[in-house]
């Protein structure tokens, strides 16, 4: 009797919000468990290994020897190529981001229009997303056959043996055009390099194209209609409507491009780290290297987000 009377024992009735919050925890529980049990220890171990030297025990097992910053020092000062690989990789990344984002935006706008064979083009454009990843990428990298027989760059054959796009471009005297326009030779080499690597860029902009397409689909057609009634041309509509409305997606894609580019196993820094991993005693060294690389890319992401978020337009929703 007394037990029933005590108010502390009475079950509290949870409000709807509380119950919903509890259900939310249930849904994300798998991730939470995995993160705490598997992922967090892995992260900590990885950081720990980067400060240690690893020794194998005969017949299985291993022990660690704490060496402090030794691995980091070795990566930065003893390794002859790591720093140069890192800086050139980061530089490459900065050049690739605008190219991939602009290309995928342009392609998404094209693929979003009504035209002959749209479904077929879309199917073809997303082939690289599915088929040119991971393993296939690795097989294709440095593929003598594709390079020699029918690479994109050698498919334009001028007949004089000069057959890369850069040479075609220079044959067409674009360099003089560029210098007349008072822009430096660097931009010229940059553009020519991009054209040379068009296959690479297409391969890497699949997901971004999908994201842009989704963004374009969600812009209300009423806005375009009112624009055309007011007499705006397609060009004006793009700059005044499409671009501001799609700008949040540009941020998402820029960040995704950075992540994708630097987690990709084929980029020079990653493959260098992979090579180090396979060397004797290079496991911990590679952990140290990749943590440095990770920090660097975090800085890049912060810079990209900082620059882009100044220009982003968020549509106010009335709901």
């Amino acid at each position: 009797m007394t037990k029933q009377a005590t108010p502390a024992k009475r079950r509290k009735i949870a409000s709807l919000d509380q119950r919903k919050a509890r259900a939310g925890w249930w849904f994300i529980l798998p991730f939470l468990i995995g993160f705490v049990i598997i992922y967090l220890p892995i992260i900590f171990d990885s950081i720990k290994y980067s400060f240690n030297e690893i020794h194998n025990i005969q017949g299985g097992g291993f022990y660690l020897e704490f060496v402090g910053w030794e691995n980091y020092r070795e990566a930065l000062f003893d390794d002859p190529t790591f720093v140069t690989t890192l800086t050139s990789g980061v530089k490459q990344l900065f050049f690739d981001i605008p190219a991939i984002v602009i290309f995928s935006l342009f392609m998404a706008v094209l693929l979003n229009q009504n035209m002959f064979g749209r479904a077929a083009f879309r199917a073809i454009f997303f082939v690289p997303v599915i088929l040119c990843t991971g393993l296939i990428d690795e097989v294709d990298a440095g593929n003598a056959l594709i390079n020699s027989m029918s690479d994109t760059s050698s498919s334009i054959n001028t007949g004089s043996g000069e057959n890369t796009v850069a040479q075609v471009v220079s044959a067409a005297d674009f360099s003089r055009l560029f210098s007349n326009m008072q822009v430096g030779g660097e931009i010229f080499t940059y553009v020519a390099g991009l054209i040379n690597n068009i296959y690479d860029i297409i391969n890497r902009s699949g997901v971004q194209m999908l994201v842009f397409l989704a963004g374009l689909q969600s812009i209300s057609p009423a806005i375009y209609e009112s624009c055309s009634i007011d007499g705006a041309s397609g060009w004006e509509t793009f700059w005044k409507i499409t671009l501001p409305m799609i700008s949040p997606m540009i941020l998402v894609n820029a960040v995704y491009t950075v992540i994708d580019a630097f987690t990709d196993a084929t980029n020079p820094v990653m493959s260098y780290i992979n090579n180090v991993y396979n060397e004797a005693g290079g496991m911990v060294l590679s952990a140290a290297m990749s943590w440095m690389y990770f920090l660097m890319v975090m800085v890049i992401i912060a810079v990209v987000v900082g620059i882009l978020s100044a220009y982003i337009f968020y549509q106010k929703r009335d709901t």
């Binding site: 925890w25 849904f27 171990d45 879309r122 073809i124 990843t133 296939i136 097989v139 296959y199």
Partner: protein
């Protein structure tokens, strides 16, 4: 009024059940043609149309050409690589390359193993990422923002960074040292279990564990996509289910899941094909390449094919290409069936946040 109307009204010439032929004053064909086609507007549209078509065609060519090259070269005999006149079409048509790879590199075994692994992983990942994404999209609870930041974090950390520790984790699998404690690793007399750590490598377990917890390859991206998709699903749908007395999980499985099928197929397609061509996890977890033959294991040159020849480089490249063709062949079939959903699912997701 009435009279005027009848005067201007088109005269009916012939009328049948389905057709009607009417006589009215029509601008003559030439004027219509001139106005429609001989204007700058039309020229502009036509030029744009052509430009767009040629551009898309060109890029499609760039995408598809390597595939064609691979396919063509996979049928070429050894002599074709020396012959300069052979460009795109094989002269000595042969199936030897395929036969040797399938036989010697044990393609069948790799296909079976990889199919089981990819299907299981992709199904688990699709389901778990939908669950997790749904939790993030539809429920408000304390600390949601921070946990979602953790999801983004798992996406950003490159897995190469975690390579060593991931291998170690699953080679000597342990949960907070519990197994070590029970197995006598800490106090040798206190021994409940026979082992102090589990060896999970060289089995499907690590990948299944990672898939179950939404930590697999690019799962952060899938969770993100599913969250965006569920954000766009109207709340009223679930509310009406709740009012009818449906429980939370039943609502999810019976109301929400069926309408998110296109999106889930998209995720499945990504998960399946990325798991299929994955060579990071397979390298880390399957160290015993003799016992476990997976797709990365078949990319090698069969000994029976003699590459020691004039155009050795090209020929071995062609053999490797044939391997990659064999790897992606099942993917192409899957893609042909699923590509419709790929664009559909993404379009409906309304990723714009």
């Amino acid at each position: 009024m009435n009279a005027q109307n009848t005067e201007n009204a088109p005269k009916v010439l012939k009328e049948s059940k389905n057709k009607i032929k009417v006589d009215f004053e029509r601008t003559d064909a030439w004027t219509r043609f001139r106005i429609k086609y001989l204007s700058w507007h039309f020229v502009g549209t036509l030029a744009w149309w052509l430009f767009r078509f040629v551009l898309l065609l060109g890029i499609s060519y760039v995408i598809l050409l390597p595939f064609y090259t691979k396919i063509a070269s996979s049928f070429m005999g050894r002599d074709d690589f020396v012959d300069a006149t052979v460009k795109m079409i094989p002269k000595n048509f042969t199936l030897d390359t395929y036969r040797e790879i399938i036989k010697e590199n044990k393609y069948g075994e790799a296909l079976l193993n990889t199919t089981i692994l990819s299907v299981v992983c992709a199904l688990l990942q699709t389901l778990m990422c939908s669950l997790i994404g749904y939790g993030f999209a539809k429920y408000n609870f304390k600390g949601k923002k921070y946990i979602f930041a953790l999801v983004i974090f798992t996406m950003i950390v490159p897995h190469t960074t975690l390579r060593l520790s991931m291998f170690m984790k699953f080679r000597y699998f342990d949960i907070f040292g519990i197994f070590k404690l029970l197995g006598g690793g800490v106090i040798s007399s206190f021994k409940v279990l026979k082992f102090s750590s589990l060896e999970l490598t060289n089995s499907f377990t690590p990948l299944i564990l990672l898939s179950l917890t939404g930590l697999g390859f690019k799962n952060g991206l899938y969770i993100f996509m599913m969250r965006q998709f569920f954000n766009g699903v109207p709340d009223e749908l679930e509310e009406s289910a709740y009012i009818d007395g449906c429980s939370t999980f039943r609502t999810f499985f019976q109301i929400v899941l069926p309408i998110s099928i296109p999106m889930m197929i998209t995720i499945f397609l990504f998960a399946f094909s990325w798991q299929w061509t994955d060579n990071f996890y397979t390298k880390v977890f399957f160290t015993n390449t003799k016992k476990w033959i997976l797709m990365p294991g078949i990319v090698k040159i069969p000994k029976t094919l003699d590459t020691n020849y004039a155009a050795q480089n090209l020929y071995s490249a062609a053999i490797r290409n044939t391997c990659s063709l064999l790897i992606i062949a099942p993917l192409i079939v899957v893609y042909l069936f699923c590509q419709r959903y790929l664009v559909q699912g993404i379009e409906r997701s309304g990723i714009v946040g």
